[in-house]
Symmetry: C2
DNA sequence: TGCGTATAATAAGTATACTTGTCAATTCCC
DNA sequence: GGGAATTGACAAGTATACTTATTATACGCA
């Protein structure tokens, strides 16, 4: 019996669920450290929201959530915090008064231009232990897996129709 | 300019940070659905904690946190909830009264035996879009990356010395 | 036209996953 | 043996990431 116990611990650390969580912890930690080094107060979620808004100004919160695969309720809080920082502005859509149109402010746009290259530059360091070829392979596999299971998450990616 | 905008959106969805977050959403969602189907109220974190306690009964909270790569503060809340459910018991260590020893209750042990095979069985479905060979490759790459960057996360894995 | 359905957002609640700060108990070192 | 440094846990605060419920608005259709 002690044998099976020992194995079960070893087994745990090979499970995809565990490994993915670890990588997520590492990824967010690296992002956070880089932002702190730049003396910025911005989370990965907030960066994603700003990026999507740059490409799609004036979209409503639900559409924004779909573009970056977030829950609609969660995005509300994110927009609140970005709004408090003066990076985005919310206004009521005249044609559909249920909807809030969200756009970057000039400050938000300036900040995004400043940090986008930083965020792009930090990405490879998330997979620092891998060679260049392995990194590319990992990204391809992750894309394939995420695309295949998109609808199994609570907040699926809903890309805008082109 | 519209060209670079279009590219920047495309680029975003290929970043490791984004893909890892998506996979984590998918992974936790699948876990949650399976537990709900079994009429159980247990999160991935809670399962990991129970598993580690089965192999290492009576360890203190900080050691437990290190074994599953969690923050010490976070684990306190997890233990609280497991304790409320009657799955673990906390007692003060006689030799170091700062430390709380945590152990599985008989109920916790029974539950763990019941769900461990379920959790193991659900793991492949997290990477459902991949072939068997790709899954093995992904796991190997993820393990390598997580191990290499272990100390860059806020809560590194601290395995027990054998 | 009006009523039921659908949608957008918010509210309240739970559970991670951290941060910093505090406190108590212990251990180290002189 | 006694003070300093360390350690384990908790408290309070922030930020995702959900759930369910509620409110307001819009839309479809008979």
């Amino acid at each position: 019996m002690p044998d099976s116990d020992t194995h079960s611990q070893t087994q745990f650390h090979q499970m995809p669920g565990y490994l993915i969580r670890r990588l997520n912890q590492i990824s967010t930690s690296i992002f956070q450290d880089r932002m702190a080094a730049l003396q910025l107060d911005l989370t990965p979620v907030q960066f994603a929201a700003l990026s999507a808004l740059q490409v799609n100004p004036g979209i409503d919160q639900a559409t924004l959530a779909g573009l970056i695969a977030y829950d609609r309720v969660t995005i509300g809080g994110v927009i609140d915090r970005l709004s408090t920082k003066g990076l985005v502005a919310r206004s009521i859509n005249a044609r559909d008064r249920r909807a809030r149109q969200v756009s970057l402010t000039p400050e938000g746009n300036a900040l995004l231009h400043r940090i986008t290259p930083e965020v792009a530059a930090l990405q490879p360091s998330i997979l620092d232990g891998l060679t260049e070829a392995e990194r590319a392979l990992f990204i391809a596999l992750a894309q394939k897996a995420a695309a295949a299971s998109n609808d199994r998450s609570r907040a699926p990616l809903r890309p805008r129709k082109p």
